[in-house]
Symmetry: C2
């Protein structure tokens, strides 16, 4: 054992111990040589749980899912070279969806950089402005000040990753040969006092007089509470709907707001706005004076377009940290306050008697009409249909289930067809950058924390991250994956290019003709091929008992799908046509 190995072991184990002390519980590691000492020391740590994923692109999203579900920073570790470049998609998503990650890349020491050494790329600021912070760490030394340096950066990395807005931080570790750490005795068994950094998570609060100003603005107004992707602690949903009742401001709840399915539905929220706001009469008649918006911008394009028309409205955006999530640039009041604090403070301040009940009731009536129309239509559908899949899931998923929703069509169908329920179902998706990449891995990462775990994705998304399925076998993860297979990119059928057949199938349709059943057997999953709704319910019931990976395939037709969607919206428009607004 060389002096270098002793120093390296003490330096890196101090760093890892500090990460754990600061709250890290999970690390996702991809195999490699340069990362050997960090990987072995993480594996050696008594409490740190490690997951090994061969494909770094999948590993990045697996870590993202784990962090998304646990609200804890997850560590990523890979070797040098393009391995690190494979993290980029997940890093970008984490940065935009505010998910805490601590990305560790191993690197050659300085003397081997920029000299044509093998598997050596420029890793300095590799992720550019897509990380909250970058540190090129010092070479390992075990002088007390350098051990302190390593610990300090461990604590700081976790602190910065968590601080609102949460996100990824990147630390690059130059490491020299020999790369084997000293594991006997375990560097973590020692009694040596580890003075680590306590991190105090503080909250942004808004002063009382500002709250009073806001209340004054809301007084008797036609107001809306709009909430997009936001996963707050239990209790927030109850507080928010209570506030909506007090203000007389209906809640337009994006499925990812968790407000459509938090376990109660005695106070109704608006879940039909995506259909309703396609109708010009509704957009004209239901103009709000005040909007209070939380979380990311909602999925619905028609809601965004509607909000964009409210030129005279006061538009409050509550967004902690220094985020400005306002793609329509409608904000008139930017409030960097922690959402839970803001809602509780408003609740204690607002005066019940000020609300505009007429406005509130009108939204409720329109929502009820739309909902009834959708449900009536769905009952008429015999064959397999992408919209009906959603209402089936909403009715038949077990209580306290978690559903990860793939991008492209599934998230939009959820927005249209997933209605408020009294059951508790958590809904998640990668809506930072809206990619179809890494969706399988994200869901599997979540399954470590959330059970029972379900995921709903299309066949192209499934194919793109099929490698991610390996983690379900190597880690005995339990998840039921529902694949809507319309053999290609169904969303493009809704776009103008669908009307011109030239090049369409080659460039947009892109059928893969991949057998979902064979892919399932490749990873030893249980396969369910569905031909009618009864079989779908049976498969859902059965999969609740089958451990491991369950894959339910629902074959649909891209062309019919467009037709059924459009007729649903037409029906709603017709019904609303008889309403006086």
């Amino acid at each position: 054992m060389t002096q270098h190995q002793i120093e390296m072991t003490r330096y890196l184990s101090s760093f890892i111990e500090e990460l754990v002390q600061a709250g890290v519980k999970d690390a996702v590691i991809s195999p490699g040589s340069r990362s050997t000492p960090l990987a072995m020391l993480m594996a050696e740590h008594p409490t740190l749980k490690i997951y090994v994923d061969i494909d770094e692109r999948s590993a990045g999203f697996f870590a993202l899912g784990l962090a998304k579900a646990s609200h804890r920073p997850v560590v990523l570790l890979c070797t040098s070279g393009t391995a690190a470049a494979n993290y980029m998609p997940a890093v970008v998503e984490a940065n935009l969806s505010q998910i805490p990650l601590v990305v560790l890349t191993s690197d050659r020491p300085h003397e081997l950089r920029g000299v044509g050494a093998p598997q050596t790329i420029d890793q300095i600021h590799l992720y550019g402005h897509h990380v909250k912070d970058f540190v090129d760490m010092a070479l390992p030394e075990d002088r007390p000040e350098m051990l302190q340096y390593a610990k300090w950066h461990g604590a700081r990395a976790v602190d910065l990753a968590l601080k609102a807005p949460s996100g990824p931080v990147h630390l690059n570790f130059p490491l020299r040969q020999p790369l084997m750490p000293i594991l006997d005795p375990s560097p973590f068994s020692g009694e040596e006092k580890r003075h680590h950094v306590h991190i105090y998570l503080t909250k942004e609060t808004v002063e009382k007089d500002l709250l009073n100003q806001i209340i004054a603005v809301c007084h008797g107004k036609k107001g809306l509470i709009v909430i997009g992707d936001l996963d707050k602690a239990e209790g927030f949903a109850e507080k928010l709907v209570e506030l909506s009742l007090q203000l007389g401001f209906p809640v337009l709840a994006d499925p990812l707001s968790q407000i459509r399915s938090f376990g109660k539905n005695d106070i109704k929220v608006i879940d039909q706005y995506d259909s309703l706001l396609r109708i010009d009469r509704v957009k004209q008649a239901m103009k709000a004076d005040v909007v209070i918006r939380f979380g990311a911008m909602p999925v619905s394009k028609f809601l965004s377009q509607y909000l964009d028309t409210l030129d005279d409205a006061r538009h409050f955006v509550v967004d902690p940290g220094s985020s400005w999530r306002d793609p329509i640039k409608a904000v008139t009041d930017m409030i960097h306050c922690e959402e839970h604090v803001f809602v509780e403070e408003l609740l204690t301040t607002v005066d019940y008697t000020q609300r505009n009940t007429e406005w509130y009731d009108q939204w409720q009536r329109l929502n009820t009409l739309s909902k009834a129309t959708v449900n009536k239509y769905l009952q008429t559908i015999e064959g397999l249909d992408e919209g009906k899949v959603i209402s089936e899931l909403q009715q038949h998923l077990p209580n306290n289930a978690t559903l990860y929703i793939g991008n492209s069509m599934p998230i939009r169908d959820i927005d249209t067809f997933f209605q408020q329920t009294e059951r508790h179902i958590k809904l998640y998706a990668n809506r930072g950058a809206n990619g179809i990449d890494g969706n399988v891995s994200t869901a599997l990462g979540m399954s470590v924390v959330k059970q029972p775990m379900y995921a709903l994705i299309g066949d192209v998304t499934f194919f793109h991250d099929m490698n991610g399925l390996l983690m379900s076998r190597t880690n005995q993860l339990n998840m039921t994956l529902i694949v809507i297979n319309n053999n290609g990119g169904g969303i493009f059928s809704f776009l103008p290019q669908a009307d011109s057949p030239r090049h369409y199938e080659q460039l947009f349709g892109t059928p893969t003709d991949i057998s979902i059943e064979k892919a399932t057997s490749l990873y030893d999953g249980n396969y369910y091929g569905i031909s009618d709704w009864e079989e779908f319910q049976d498969a859902l019931d059965q999969s609740a008992h089958d451990k491991g990976l369950n894959i339910i395939e629902i074959k649909t037709n891209r062309y019919e799908n467009v037709v059924t969607h459009r007729s649903v919206w037409d029906n709603i428009q017709e019904v609303i046509g008889y309403e006086s607004l």
Copy 2:
């Protein structure tokens, strides 16, 4: 007038109006062609005050000083090319010292980038990671959504610049010919409704149970409150010294903490630690168990070294935003809380009876001894002396004066010789990057807000930013500049190289032999050459009545200066030697 000019005028005036609505009151502009529309529109704005500075390097620091003194974001505007590169030193300082700046650079339109067009450099991310945010703005258009885009970015820029930790943001404006805006009618006179963004400045607060944990840690301990560069609103100093009394934790107050001179001295703070902690016996005997630190790391190297030896101490760092200002990596508890909130909350929680009075009194006794020794020594000094300049200033500056302190020797002498006073004197310096560049301009920028304004700098620092003096004439600014002229870099005389004559004067001594008197007349200032302390006091009294620029030159000797400083510290060491610790 072309359509382009109309569109450009509406777009840029919307942006400028939004900056003003968000709280900007001052803009520092350097002349140029590409910046013409922004410059003329700012000059046209009814409330925005503009300052024109030919040298962009000085302009950057002038804006920095203005923002430092006003706690408001100041706008910087320059043309394209190297002009923008000249802002770098001030941008770097602003970023590290957390001063809000909105840096606007004009650029060629996209079709003239990277094609060898004149005065065109790559301005994208020009300041790298030294700004909080960068935006390459869209070309001017007056479609409603683009006017909204311009306003939105104006509000966002001010918000990000102010949000803790405050700092500079950079917006790059590509502009096309013709560059003349339309000023008749004034774009700001219109009644057109400007829906602008209200920004709510929120505060980070720490929960009660965490405060109780902190109190528990402090219970009866040997504690210190250490406060570095931190310019809080009136009332903070009173609260802090009250807290120190309650906890029995002496306050080690850096001059830039404003705690040595906030207008009261009934509660004594420790202002001699830089001298005391040079003494090993003191460092050994006075080891603290708990440190609560605010603001930047103090100036004193000996304090840092002492704090670094406290291996077993709990070291609380209170630092809002996501700052980790802890160069010695001593932090054990990182608290991202607004300082004023933290101190007030602690005050309401702490129990008076818990304090360790013995520890508190011992520090007070040592401080009194050191102070007496310094003062006794200074009385013996006949000739002009750099240390004595400080005590003279401390005694003879008018109440409510502001003193800007140059880097290198002056700030260190202030640390050693500026003692707690019952008078209210604000002390400032550029301690983010500690440069001697831009010091004259920073002080002049402050003089716009702070009166009476004084600055104390050395001759090399004076020479480096002599161009900055032009602003005092063009803007009729009132400031008294005290130049300690030891004809070269006096600080190097304290460093090892001073003992080896070879190359010393050429590389470190660097005498300029510049006549301060001639430089003063070049800018029409009033010159005072000082030959004894009586003349110094007269000059100070006289300059209080002379408007405009007053320059007081005090000629000293670099070599004698080292001797006198060292004998002061020797005397203190000797006196403390008789003390039982």
